[in-house]
Amino acid sequence: MTPVAIAQRRTPDPGGGAEQRRLELVDALLAAGDGEACAVTALDWLARHCGVERGLCAVVDRAAGALVGVAGHGLPASLAAAFRIDLAARDHPLAVVLAGHEPVHFRRERGKSGPQIVTPLGDHPFLAVPIHSGGGDRPIEHGLLLLAGAAEPAREREACWAAAVLGIRLAALELPLGLAEERRHERELTLLRRGLETVTDPILITDAEGRILVANRRAEQLLTAEDRMSEGRRRAVAMNNMLFSAAAFTGGPGDEPTRRELLLVDPIEGEDLLFELLSTRFEVGRGETGTVSILRDVTDLRRASQEIEDNYRRLRIAEARTRAERDRLDLILDAALDPILVTDREGNLARLNPPAERLFAVPDAADADADAAERRVRANDVVLTSFLSELAAAQSDRLRGELTLTDPVSGESIPMEARAANVVSRQGEVTAVVTIFHDLSEAVEKERLYEQVKRHSEELERRVREATAELAEQNEVLRRQTLELEQASALKSQFLANVSHELRTPLNAIIGYAALLLEGISGELAEPQREKLNRLESNAQSLLAIINDLLDIARIEAGKMALDVLSFDAVELIDEVMAEVEPLIDRSRLDVTREITDEIPELASDRQKVKQILINLLSNALKFTPRGAVWVRAGFDPATDLLRVAVVDTGTGIRPENRISIFEAFGQSGGSVLRRQGGTGLGLSISRRLARMLGGDIHLESEVGVGSTFTLELPRMSMES
């Protein structure tokens, strides 16, 4: 299209300054929309370049058959418009000029008669130039140019050229159709053009090939290039043409107009412009079609709508967010176990969570209690309202209080802690009030239970204290008793020691005197006397043995039996024991055998006590074995590091039920035996106690009628200094 447009503008280049001037006229004429404008344009050009001072352009009004003035230069418009020559007068000099091809000079010649040519140019000499078009043998006569002041031949030539160009232009404007109609058309066209120009939206008409036939200035700005344009603008225009032809109407005449969006570039401002392209095709005539395109600049509109859309979207997002936030808040509220309620400034309930609903909403139940429940809800409401009015009166935005509400269903009183807070907007206005209740009944109950527990624990503490005191007292008593017992025990031991000493001393005297008598110191004794004296001595000895054993027991029980550990030869000790009881052995007439079965090492123990034990065991064996034999068997077990001395007899044996009691004080099996055998009954008890004091023990194996074996087991003790 552009090439078309440019091609249209192109005229043969005349070269030089004259050519430039001519080009100017052509451009100007092409720019002029109607005959009148063309006439004015031509006159202006002639005035500037050809020294025309006054000029008139008159054209042929074929309908009227007259030559009428359409434009003037250097003269009033009314004069130009008033100029009229009837072409019926063919001999009128100007009609002659119109019919001819050459310009004619008119000069007023004084005194010369002839027809007077009256022109608006006055008395000045002028040149009349015919305006023709088509050339050849049938030129179209368009009118005349009457020019005053262009008296040079060069100027004349230029005037003739201008008249020729004007003729061509007027022919192009189809003036020959008849001047009146043409003028009307021209006016309409002018009107149309001006109208088009006033429209700020680009409007253009293109032919079937897309060449621009008509375009308003805005359309030209966008779509037509000019030589003097910068490269940038040219390129922008070329691009716009490409975009426009791509979006251009493709349907046929009569089809519905198309409506498309078209993005173009403003070649001057360089901005992107969004247009709505409305185009439709129409019949031009002679089978040709044209396209009318109206581009509506919707850039701002689009921007605005975009903005609206953006705002809307943002609003939707914000709304969604708000909704989510509210949902979340609802969830939190609903999940809370404490009653929470939101009221507006006037105290109207706006939002309740389920626990709050239970207290402040009338239950649905239609049963007999519904009235009562409603009354209670109203009562709760009153309590709440008065609490909130307290908040409203307070200086602070928060308030805490303890209220008593009523459970609408059960009618129970519920002690509540209430906390209310104003929700304050950014502008400092109170928009809502949030009130949270907390059921204190549990706390009250807890406190009650706590008090109870405390009371009980105090009671318990008191009892424990009392019991402890009592215990301490008992302890003290026990301690005192223990002390007393210990003292008593010590006293007993001392007493026994003293008593045995006191007993022994006279007893010793008795024995001594008996011995003196038996010795015959106080004279010879008769046999019955000697016999009785022997009995006396024997009983005194028994009594002495009992006293000695009692003393031993007392000492052992009092812990007063000191140990004296020495290293000694056990075999030697056994021999010593055997020697000591020799009188008994002799008297018993038993077969007594000593057997040493192992290599026996030195024994560390209390020699005296071991001896005492062995004497006791051996003398028992001798006493309680009526006939048979007694063995003393000594052995040493390296595995257990124990010395074992067994005293084996073939005596009466000990019945199982007596095998424990014989080791107890006065435990000999049967009191009759004691008397018969002269034992104290304390020997085994003392022996076992002594053996245990020495870290050992005495074991008994026995079979009634076969015999008994008493085994002394002794460890080697550590030597004490």
């Binding site: 045995s500 000493h501 022994r504 001393t505 006279p506 007893l507 010793n508 005297a509 024995i511 001594g512 005197y513 011995a515 003196l516 010795e519 015959g520 110191i521 005194a540 000895q541 002495l544 000695n548 003393l551 031993d552 000492r555 000191a562 004296d564 209390d606 005296q608 006590k609």
Partner: protein, 139 residues
Amino acid sequence: MNRETAGPDRPLVLVVDDYLEAREICAEYLGFHGYRVVTAEDGLQALDKAFEVLPDVILMDLSLPELDGWAATRRLKADPRTSGIPIVALTGHAMSGERERALAAGCDDVITKPVVPKELLAEVERQLARRGEAVGDEG
């Protein structure tokens, strides 16, 4: 009737015991067998008599009033005039330690009560024999 007549050349025995009958039994029995006997009834008396008569043997009961037998024995054994005189301790009950304590105090031997007269006589003769040997060695 083996009673011997006591004379100034017969050995002198000091019997120390706080119990009259005990002293009497010893004195009578030893006297019967020809010994001269002096007696003391407490530790201090024992010391006085010992220094006074310088006996050949002393029979010393250990549990005595005023000054006990151990202490008296130590004093006599510490004195050069009496240190050579054999002292035989008489103890009430032969429990462990008593015999050792007596020997440690300087007693030459220990006899456990009740005293068997024959054993007592044998002991006195044994002590005198030991002393005689010693005197014999000297002289």
